[in-house]
């Protein structure tokens, strides 16, 4: 953990709504995208001369394409119900991080150019000209929103600031002021197939290494197939799963589950990314391009089902948008939903009693579960509303003896974002990420002290990366964040196949050594 020149917020016993501190985060903005990465996504390379005109035209266009935007811009009554609901406000105390104030940065300009009251009496209704300062404010504060939708749960009209952030980011990208982190990643995923820019050989190499590790560990030849044709399942997983900690332990968990289920499966090097950053920048077109890679891979590999690994916003795009963006998936087996979440897959096997666990393997941990925002508030698992909360918890309870939930206001639909979602998981926003994690850290501290919780499980690649980075700032250890399928991986009892029975003795030795 590096030394920092800002104050790490103090963890309080009970959540406290902070007093406003104007411009507390005015200095925080991410790097602007370079020309090359702007143009490859179809945007202007740098700020265009007539950017005001272009921005206002784009704003108008978006209000005719998205009903959400059109209704949300008109409907806010400034009741204030959302003002204390954003983790970035709670963590930074900057008033412009209150959801309604964030929306107003965009709404005030909309009012000025698109409403009668704003044209006639701008001062009275708070309407504002689109000036350079306003554009800077947009860039600053629409990159302090992780599009987590917590505010939308609590607004009487369901106004979702995420929709406004997406629109604002699209307008900014259009005038030539896109964000470096997101746009570079989208570029890589659109050309190389994943956010990390891992080419096929590197991927194959990594997976081979995993096969060796797992076999050494368990004595069972669990496979990690890549680009294998004619399998039942195509697994699409966030590329962080290939090597980051604790993500990779989750990937090992999926592989063991597939192995035990006896289902043939493969990953694809062409679509080796579940994440879809097109959503973060509000670009339907770019999001669609990324989604189409998955469709193409499924056709090319001739699979029957698509299963997604643990990732929050990826699951939103997969569950809520994939069918829209890249459907219809009538070439897949109609017996299964398209796509499925790995938790649905595992949960189904558990409920049919097809997996055996030794829960004591996880006895060195006492767990809690962090509901990732996009899974909690923008998708579902299973057949019933709220399955996204019960399925992962069922899996944890099937694989662990010690589990406690965090306080009610901080879980399920009220869950707090990890602080790094929505395209903000970049080093140039570290201060924001640390401060935005405050409400989650408070909730974690609560169960640590009251229930002896030692580890927090999650099903999102961004959450996992973010927590391993920010936990130490609050006095926790970076490895206190684990993958849900890591717990599965620890506890699952693998059936030995014929080949490995021969090695039985050697394997017993191994275990002794390992113990």
């Amino acid at each position: 953990m590096a030394k920092v020149d800002y104050e790490i917020p103090e963890l309080k016993e009970y959540p406290v709504i902070p007093k406003l501190k104007k411009d507390a985060m005015a200095h925080s903005a991410p790097y602007v995208a370079k020309e090359k990465f702007q143009t490859s996504l179809g945007y202007a390379g740098e700020l265009v001369d007539n950017w005001q005109e272009v921005a206002i035209a784009k704003m108008g266009e978006l209000t005719t394409k998205y009903r959400s935007l059109s209704v949300f811009l008109d409907s806010c009554v400034k009741c204030g119900a959302c003002t204390d609901k954003c983790h970035y406000y709670l963590g930074t105390t900057d008033p412009k991080n209150m959801p309604v104030a964030r929306q107003d940065l965009f709404r005030n300009v909309y009012r000025r150019y698109f409403t009668l009251a704003g044209k006639l009496v701008p001062k009275l209704v708070g309407a504002q000209d689109l000036t350079e300062e306003v554009l800077d404010d947009w860039y600053t504060y629409f990159h302090q929103c992780s599009q987590c939708r917590r505010c939308s749960v609590y607004c009487p009209y369901g106004i979702d600031t995420a929709e406004i952030s997406m629109a604002a980011r699209e307008v900014m990208a259009t005038v030539g002021k896109g964000q470096k982190y997101c746009n570079e990643i989208i570029g890589k995923a659109q050309t190389l197939g994943n956010n990390l820019g891992l080419p096929e050989p590197a991927l194959a190499d990594t997976l081979e290494g995993l096969e060796e590790d797992v076999e050494e560990d368990t004595g069972v030849a669990v496979k990690f197939p890549l680009d294998k044709k004619g399998c039942d399942v195509l697994l699409i997983t966030p590329s962080a799963d290939f090597f980051a900690e604790p993500h990779v332990d989750g990937l090992i968990g999926y592989a063991k589950v597939f192995h035990e289920a006896g289902v043939s499966w493969t990953m694809s090097s062409y679509a080796s990314e579940a994440a879809n950053f097109g959503m973060f920048i509000g670009s339907y077109e770019n999001m669609r391009k990324l989604a189409l890679r998955i469709r193409e891979a499924a056709i090319e590999l001739g699979c029957k089902r698509i299963v997604f690994g643990e990732c929050g916003h990826a699951w939103r795009v997969a569950y809520s948008f994939l069918n829209t963006l890249a459907g219809p998936f009538d070439f897949l087996d109609p017996a299964y939903p398209v796509p499925q979440h790995i938790c649905e897959f595992t949960h189904d096997l558990i409920s049919k009693d097809k997996l055996k666990f030794d829960k004591s393997e996880n006895d060195h941990m006492t767990l809690t579960f962090h509901d990732s925002c996009n899974v909690a508030r923008a998708s579902r698992m299973g057949d019933e509303a709220g399955g996204q909360f019960t399925l992962p918890r069922d899996i944890i309870n099937a694989t662990c003896n010690n589990f406690y939930d965090m306080p009610k206001h901080a879980i399920k639909e009220g869950t707090y974002c990890c602080g790094g979602g929505g395209g903000l998981l970049t080093d140039d926003l570290m201060e924001l990420r640390v401060k935005g994690a405050l409400p989650r850290m408070e909730a974690l501290k609560n169960v640590t002290e009251n229930n002896g919780v030692t580890h927090m499980a999650a099903i999102c690649a961004i959450c996992k990366s973010q927590f391993s980075k920010v936990l130490p700032y609050y006095g926790f250890e970076m490895d206190q964040i684990v993958s849900v399928h890591q717990l599965v991986s620890n506890a699952i009892i693998l059936t030995k196949d014929e080949d490995s029975v021969i090695d039985n003795e050697a394997e017993t030795d191994d275990t002794v050594v390992a113990a």
Partner: protein, 240 residues
């Protein structure tokens, strides 16, 4: 005076109906290209209707969010609803029996409405977060409603207006026959501010009333895997 107010009311009604109508047409015509219900969301149409009814009657989300705003907001809206229904007696002859039935409730509802409004105004002034997000128009709007409610309650509880003539005037307006309007100043203030409210309705945040019915985070069914959902402009992308 009678003629002036007649003109005002015809104008206000036209603005309200045409203005709100055209907003509703815009909302209805603008596609929602992606499924974005705030989940957990109902998986059936019926479930969505139930969700919307809860939002409209008990302000469910607001209740989860903030008990004070909920209390004041709910008092104000329910009070206003009853008061509005009670006003139907000025426009119907003979008065519908259920409107007769609610008269006594409607009378006290005006107090609930005023209490709610005062509560909201106090919050807007006292709570630093709400003060920060308020534009002058937000205060004026509450002021206007307080004037409407205050003058109305005054006529019910303190002075008394010439209700017979007023009713005859309003019934006359409905058949384009301009009759005598009593020139009680309190009544005139009441009527003028109502007309102003009607005129600003389609250009202000009062659009939340029709808006809530079109809010995709609340009115969409959670079934994206079962049903493919594509907007017209998005289909064009597929044909490229």
């Amino acid at each position: 005076m009678s003629i002036l107010f007649a003109v005002l009311f015809y104008f206000a009604t036209a603005v309200l109906v045409l203005g709100v109508g055209s907003r509703i047409r815009k909302y209805a015509k603008t596609p929602a290209p992606l499924k974005i219900p705030t989940t957990p969301a109902p998986t059936t149409r019926r479930g969505v209707v139930f969700r919307m009814i809860k939002e409209l009657t008990i302000f469910e989300s607001l209740f989860k969010s903030n008990k004070w705003i909920w209390l004041f907001g709910w008092l104000f809206h329910m009070g206003m609803l009853l008061v509005l229904l009670r006003h139907l007696r000025y426009f119907t002859d003979p008065v519908w029996s259920w409107v007769v039935f609610i008269q006594p409730f409607g009378k006290y509802a005006s107090i609930a409405m005023l209490l709610g409004l005062i509560g909201l105004l106090v919050r807007r002034i006292v709570v630093d977060r709400v003060r920060y997000i308020s534009a002058p128009s937000d205060f004026l709007m509450l002021g206007l409603l307080l004037v409407i409610g205050g003058t109305g309650a005054m006529m019910s509880f303190v002075t008394s207006a010439d209700i017979i003539s007023l009713k005859s005037y309003l019934l006359g307006l409905m058949v384009f026959d301009i009759r005598y309007l009593p020139s009680d100043p309190i009544l005139l203030v009441h009527l003028a501010s109502v007309a102003i409210l009607m005129i600003i309705f389609p250009i202000s945040k009062l659009l939340h009333a029709p808006g809530i019915f079109f809010s995709p985070t609340r009115n969409q069914v959670d079934n994206p895997r079962e049903r493919r959902h594509v907007a017209a402009w998005a289909i064009k992308l597929e044909q490229k």
